[in-house]
Amino acid sequence: MQARTAVTIKRPVEEVYAFWRDLTNLPAFMYHLKSVEPTGNGRSHWTANGPAGATVDWDAELVEDTPGQRIAWRSLEGAKVSNSGSVTFTPAPGGDGTEVRVELSYDPPGGALGKVVAKLFGEEPQQQISDDLRRLKQVLETGEVVLSEGSPEGTRFARLVRQRPAEPVG
């Protein structure tokens, strides 16, 4: 399955690149991730939130790291779900922003594990990565993930169809 999306962020290219390059930042705006820990030699260990409190983890490596331009990664042999992705950073017109373009692909297995994966990566992977980039923009531009009482965790596809009422969370 493939998904891609793009967003323009009003921060300099070097800053946006550096934020993403520190992979430990990813869970701050990618809600399906619990943690990403570098393990040396361009490799990292990823843990994601599965359904019913379970976690799924795998190892990945960087296949490209061009500072201020492009980062690409792929999961290593043995990952339950083979996945890969890339993010490119381009100066936005006008000089004070960055165009961020993300492409992801993964091979969901069939059967029961496929269902787990679907929940893990979002049954709408396109929507999930769009939400992730929206949160990245909020974090880099405003310093926070924007919250409302209807969506108290912030932008989240699953919440759109299951809004809290617009009254204080209490």
Binding site: T8, K10, G97, Q127, S130, D131, R134, K137, Q138, E141, T142, G143, E144, V146, L147, S148, E149, G150, S151, P152, G154, T155, R156, F157, R159, L160, Q163, R164, P165, A166, E167, P168, V169, G170
Partner: protein, 390 residues
């Protein structure tokens, strides 16, 4: 705390709900001293705006005293008296930088819903459906104000709540409506809708130098207010043909600028066209009724400007695009970028150039908000603008 909640179409209830708490570092909590019912609240009340949920707190025009600030709010402190603008804006994105605050790119966590319906999402708004953020509104005792370091304006104590409350929405909205007309000396500005926003648009057109201001409405009491506070020439469209009257006033040219301060729930005198639009609305084939907009377009002089500040939510039918295109009309519109106008309009109030409180006809306790909505919708008792006191 008590809050006026939407429980369904034409079903409001003032209920006990939790007090708001800080959710983010740039939030503040305001204890509300005055709030109001807006014409656009009626679209929520009458069920025209999608994505409402039972229990949503309404209201986007409010002011009061800061009672709590988040750690990242440096410009406000507990005790400050503030008026809060209705769009929620971060101050950091491209839109906010250009002072297009109602287009803030970050303040709507439910942006994906708005994108489906509109293409891209505008800013989040207090108390105005989940498509625009799912934020509780200000017809309540307290409200959480996100990005409190950007929106609220501090007001000193020598001005009453009634004098400054409308900085939250209707005064900047009317003013922006007039500003969009790019008024030149000698201009005739016609305003459809003599409700509070229309009245303030007319008064603003005067401040901005219009030669003549024309008010179009069907309620004599509203036309009187227009004449008295904006020196507007009244046209009662149930008694007079609007096109004829404007032709006479402008010696055949048409108004230089036409302001639509009516929006999607327009009333229409001509039975046939109204029946058409109502039927399509009921069958959900058309969401909005653009009577005033059509008339404003058709009446406008060649090359003139149509300024649309009445609220629309979805799709309109039978739009006179031929008139627009063939006659070089300019249509300018938007939800008011209220933050941009707070300081300059507060200065005008302080200088005595205008006192927006003239639109107030009734003051009610918050507990009577449901009755207030009915009175406002049905224009009973010469109702123009209702202020609610929590």
């Amino acid at each position: 705390m008590r809050a006026n909640c939407w429980m369904g179409k034409t079903d409001l209830e003032v209920r006990e709900v939790p007090d708001p708490t800080l959710l983010n570092a740039r939030d503040a909590i305001v204890r509300i001293t005055s709030t109001a019912i807006c014409g656009s609240d009626l679209h929520l009340y009458n069920g025209y705006i999608p994505t409402m949920r039972k229990g949503d707190i309404l209201g986007h025009e409010f002011m009061g005293e800061v009672v709590e600030v988040g750690p990242a709010v440096a410009n406000l402190k507990v005790g400050d008296r503030v008026v809060v603008p209705f769009p929620i804006a971060c101050g950091n994105c491209f839109a906010c930088e250009r002072e297009l605050y109602s287009l803030c790119e970050n303040s709507n966590p439910n942006a994906a819903v708005a994108e489906k319906l509109m293409g891209h999402s505008p800013a989040g708004i207090f108390g105005y459906s989940h498509m625009l953020g799912g934020y509780p509104g200000g017809q309540a005792e307290y409200a959480r104000v996100p990005f409190a370091d950007v929106g609220p304006i501090k007001v000193e104590d020598d001005l009453t709540d009634e004098q400054v409350l409308f900085l939250s929405d209707i005064f900047p909205t009317g003013y922006m409506g007039a500003e969009l007309c790019d008024i030149k000396p000698g201009d005739v500005v016609a305003v459809w809708g003599a409700g509070p926003v229309g009245l303030l648009a007319m008064a603003s057109a005067r401040l901005l130098g219009a030669e003549r201001v024309v008010a179009i409405d069907r309620f004599p009491y509203r036309l009187r207010l227009a004449a008295e506070h904006a020196d507007a020439e009244p046209i009662n469209y149930e008694e007079t043909d609007v096109a004829d009257a404007l032709q006479w006033i402008t010696a055949g040219r048409g108004p230089d600028a036409c302001i639509d301060a009516v929006g999607l729930e327009a009333h229409q005198s001509s039975r046939a066209l109204h029946a058409y639009d109502r039927t399509k609305q009921v069958a959900r084939l058309e969401t909005d009724r653009p009577h005033a907009l059509r008339e404003a377009i058709i009446s406008c002089r060649n090359g003139g400007t149509v300024s649309v500040i009445g609220v629309y939510g979805g799709m309109v039918d039978k739009f006179p695009m031929g008139s627009v295109m063939n006659r070089s009309l300019t249509i300018r519109t938007g939800q008011c970028h209220a933050q941009r106008y707070l300081r300059p309009l507060l200065d005008r109030i302080r200088n005595g150039e205008i006192d927006p409180s003239f639109v107030i006809s009734h003051t009610l306790p918050l507990d009577q908000a449901p009755q207030g909505f009915e009175m406002f919708r049905d224009k009973e008792d010469d109702c123009t603008k209702i202020v609610l006191k929590p």
